[in-house]
């Protein structure tokens, strides 16, 4: 087969260009491009690809709650608040609901805090119902699709199941009214009731300024092999042991407490962030829920996350190839963690570190204020944009009803 000459020239040009670009990349910076299963989408710009309409809810659903407890701005569930603030001033926002692709309902369900700072989810289902009733009665867009083109941010432990105990959360299931909506949540576990098909998993909120202020020079040698700070046993809630973290954290402690390679303890050192930057691996085991802010911290500080949570779905799983970046260890393999980690070839470890060094990777895990290109807000919008255009089945015929407004526990039906 004889190739025409122009084709040959074209091919050689392509080859030289690709090699040049590869060569340039390898010499200029120690990072690698990140492309997940959806392609190279981390740096996509959502502006122009979708339009979001933000409902104007009475302030009792958002502002007043925040005023009552400003701690909501700094805890790990603060994503719902910052998402609203971002959308209100973002170019993707439209004031004309007719041209909107997605509708956002700003309701702060995770802001009812105990004195210790933990959110109580008991009133959240009622609050959500009340908000949905409000928008269903004041705007026609909910009934048009029964919420299929609406999205909600539910960053609580088990997402829209609205409970902190897994058994009870599974028992409740996702709020029936949210069955068709897109949920933006931190919780993600495969084949779990509380993770709905089509949800977007986001990282928990971690304060960007605080982390930036603890950066140390990159040439500080990484001398800690494995690092972890946190509880291994939750004696308050799980006195018998075996429930908390499905026994995985306790297994880590019992197997490796005297191992010099494992710098693990329950202390709260002030140099926590600096220590992470001196470690090669950072353990991110599950707790009461499989997700934790440790993943965000590990990514920001360049420490390879060792994820010990069976079947977990990590943030932006279609945009970020987590298998290439982190190390996944089954909970049953925890006793052999040292063997697993030392048997990873050094080239693989260096590649993971290069991927972590990619600034777009770090940016995607953060919720900076004001929003910056490539950050978690934009990744959420990218995720929403990838779900467009809406399927025809999303739009219901007038009068057609799919959702059951009276489903769920009786206590949830009380007005809020």
């Amino acid at each position: 087969m004889k190739l025409p000459s122009w084709a040959l020239i074209f091919l050689t040009c392509n080859l030289t260009f690709s090699t040049i670009s590869a060569f340039r990349l390898s010499r200029s910076q120690p990072t690698e491009r990140i492309s997940g299963s959806a392609g190279d989408v981390l740096e996509d710009d959502p502006v122009g690809r979708l339009k979001v309409f933000v409902y104007e809810l009475p302030s009792k659903y958002n502002k007043k709650i925040l005023q009552k407890d400003p701690r909501c701005l700094t805890h790990m569930f603060a994503a719902e608040i910052y998402m609203q603030r971002f959308l209100l001033s973002s170019p993707v926002r439209t004031l004309n609901p007719e041209e909107a692709d997605w509708f956002y309902v700003p309701v702060y369900t995770t802001c009812d805090l105990t004195p210790n700072g933990l959110p109580l989810p008991f009133k959240s289902p009622r609050m959500m119902r009340s908000a949905i009733q409000l928008i269903a009665s004041n705007w026609p867009y909910w009934n048009r699709t029964e919420g299929a083109d609406h999205f909600f941010v539910v960053p609580h432990d088990f997402g829209a199941c609205f409970h902190y105990q897994e058994e009870k959360a599974i028992g409740r299931g996702i709020l029936p009214l949210l069955q068709r909506a897109t949920l933006v949540q931190t919780f993600g576990q495969r084949n779990h009731v509380c993770l709905k098909e089509g949800s977007i998993t986001v990282p928990p909120y971690a304060p960007p300024q605080k982390m930036q202020s603890h950066l140390i020079p990159g040439k500080t040698p990484r001398s800690i092999f494995v690092y972890f700070r946190g509880l291994f046993y939750d004696v308050g809630n799980d006195p018998e042991g075996g429930y908390y973290a499905r026994g995985a954290r306790a297994a880590v402690w019992e197997n490796f407490k005297d191992n010099p390679l494992f710098d693990i303890s329950t202390e709260h050192p002030t140099t926590y962030y600096e220590d992470m930057q001196r470690a090669i691996f950072c353990l991110c085991p599950l707790g009461w829920a499989p997700w934790s802010p440790r993943l965000v911290e590990a990514v920001i500080f360049g420490c390879i996350p060792v994820i010990i949570a069976d079947d977990i779905v990590l943030p932006f799983a279609d945009a970020i190839p987590w298998e290439d970046i982190g190390v996944f260890v089954d909970e049953k393999d925890v006793p052999y963690l040292d063997t697993i980690l030392t048997s990873i070839p050094p080239e693989v470890i260096l590649r993971k570190q290069r991927l972590l060094a990619n600034p777009s990777m770090k940016q995607a895990m953060l919720f900076p204020q004001p929003a910056q290109p490539g950050d978690a807000f934009h990744q959420v919008l990218n995720g929403l944009a990838r779900k467009l255009p809406h399927d025809r089945s999303v739009y219901l015929r007038p009068g057609e009803k799919v959702l059951n407004w009276t489903a769920g526990p009786v206590a949830d039906l009380k007005p809020w």
């Binding site: 084949n191 990159g218 001398s223 026994g247 390679l261 090669i280 570190q353």
Partner: protein, 524 residues
């Protein structure tokens, strides 16, 4: 005792088998406990009858059925506190199973998996250390210098007692440098095998140059000869066209490893901060003199200045630009302080020591391409005009680059410690031929009373752990005597052998105690 043994084995067995057993017995725990108690009593009774203890596996095989494997059952026995021994696994709630998606991850109580020997495995530890090393190497290449320049170290030296001490120190520092090193050793008095033997052990590329002048006795003259030796070495760099960064590693100095990393950043001419350890000698004396000084000093500024370590190096303003030099202040040592109670006086450095400067070797070449015009032509340098510091090599001293975050990091330390000029040591530090005169030592290796026969032949000091063979030369003995006397009065002696016994001229040192003056007069 038999009962207790039974009880023990019962506990063990119970913990081992309970995960399987209890999975069968779905009724409450209390029933289980009663059942076990009854079984235990039965077994005791039977074994009493039989006269020996029989294996309760009999019951196990009789009564248990294969357990359902729907649950997490720990394959190991967790050797933990008692409440862990009784792992009672709850089957997942019916509600979960009734759900459409059945996750393989089960909610509920799980066993805490512990491997049989939960301790570090040395093979794994070694592998982990290799990984750490590889990661750190990668970090160095990423964050360190891209292309490393050869380090050209210039060391003036001469054969003397402390040469082995100093030269070995410098040699080890240079051997640790992660870049290429060329070591130019200039030796006063010509090339000797002694020095050659020491530097040959380094394994570095060395250039051993002889200098045809003997090292003089006074510090001042020694400094001058050292300058000439360094210039000789720079001439070698010029002739050989060596490429790299030239640094001056005086043999008694101490360099930190960060110093070698920092000098890679130099463009043409750089300066670093040098910590001046001018107090060579006994540390306690220094402390004593400091205390005394603190007592008698009225002017607080002077006290502060002298109590902190003097630094020589570049001075920068707020925007990190070179504005001047920190030099060593010789005023406190000008002899007016009567604080020194010893014959040991501080060795003062020059205004600006050579060791604090580094230069690109291309400055010395003849026809280097882009040699800046603020550098004098090295070939035309006239030594007789007096080259004091490396700044004499430059036309414009303000073009010097301050290194080490603009002089804030002290990367090396300057020190001069020498034995007396006429002190002897075994050549090559090998005792050959063996010692002739031996004196029986008492409890301490050094006798309190000097031995009678004058042992002027072998002036060798050797320490032996045994209590028989000790040769003490006369001169050193007496000095140690003095020291011991003093020591017993005041404090315990430390580092006696490292005392700087240099005396330029005995009359020079004004700070002397009467005994030591007598001592010196004796010796002379």
């Amino acid at each position: 005792m038999k009962l207790s043994a039974l009880h023990q084995s019962y506990l063990n067995r119970r913990s081992f088998r309970s995960p399987l057993d209890s999975s069968v017995d779905t009724s409450g725990k209390s029933l289980l406990a009663v059942f076990w108690l009854v079984l235990h009593c039965l077994c005791c009774f039977i074994s009493l009858l039989l006269g020996f203890r029989f294996s309760r596996l009999v019951f196990f095989f009789l009564f248990t059925t294969p357990s359902s494997t729907n649950l997490y059952s720990p394959p190991f026995r967790p050797p933990l506190k008692h409440h862990h021994n009784n792992i009672d696994l709850n089957p997942p709630s019916n509600a979960t199973e009734a759900m459409i998606k059945s996750s393989r991850v089960v909610v509920g109580r799980h066993g805490i998996l512990i491997r049989p020997w939960p301790h570090p495995d040395p093979v794994e530890v070694m592998k982990a250390h290799r990984i750490i090393e590889r990661v750190q190497r990668e970090q160095k290449t990423v964050f360190g210098v891209k292309r490393s320049k050869t380090v050209i170290a210039v060391t003036p030296t001469y054969v003397r007692t402390f040469q082995a001490l100093h030269l070995n120190g410098v040699m080890h520092s240079l051997m640790l440098v992660p870049y290429d090193v060329v070591w130019i050793v200039v030796e006063a008095g010509g090339v000797t095998n002694e020095t050659g033997a020491i530097i040959a052990k380094s394994g570095l590329k060395t250039i051993h140059v002889g200098f045809n002048q003997r090292m003089p006795n006074t510090w001042e003259d020694r400094g001058k000869v050292e300058v000439l030796m360094r210039l000789q070495a720079l001439r070698v760099v010029k002739e050989e066209k060596l490429d790299g960064v030239v640094m001056f590693a005086d043999d008694s100095n101490m360099h930190s490893m960060e110093f070698f990393d920092e000098i890679q950043n130099v463009n043409w001419f750089g300066a670093v901060s040098v910590g001046i350890l001018a107090h060579s000698g006994n540390a306690e004396e220094m402390v004593m003199s400091m205390d005394k000084r603190r007592e008698m000093v009225v002017d607080e500024e002077e006290e502060e200045r002298s109590s902190s370590l003097p630094i020589q190096g570049p001075a920068c303003n707020g925007s990190d630009k070179l504005i001047g030099w920190h030099v060593f202040n010789t005023l406190p040592y000008a002899g007016k302080s009567a604080v020194y109670i010893d014959d040991v006086a501080a060795v003062l450095p020059q205004k600006l020591e050579w060791c604090g400067f580094v230069l690109n070797s291309r400055l010395l070449w003849d026809e280097a391409e882009s040699k800046p015009e603020w550098v004098k032509e090295f070939g035309l340098l006239n030594e007789n005009e007096g080259v004091e510091s490396p700044l004499s090599l430059l036309n414009d001293a303000s073009m010097v680059e301050p290194l080490g975050s603009c002089g804030r990091q002290v990367l090396l330390w300057w020190l001069r410690v020498e034995a007396r000029a006429d002190s002897k040591f075994p050549p090559g530090w090998i005792i050959d031929p063996p010692l002739e005169i031996t004196v029986a030592a008492k409890r301490t290796p050094w006798p309190d009373v000097p031995p009678e026969p004058p042992t002027k032949k072998k002036d060798q000091m050797s320490l032996s752990q045994g209590n028989t063979v000790v040769t003490i030369p006369k001169q050193h003995q007496q000095q140690q005597q003095q020291q011991q006397q003093r020591a017993s009065k005041v404090r315990k002696p430390k580092r006696r052998s490292k005392r700087s016994k240099h005396e330029a001229k005995p009359t020079d040192t004004t700070t002397q105690v009467s005994s030591s003056t007598k001592h010196h007069q004796e010796r002379n």
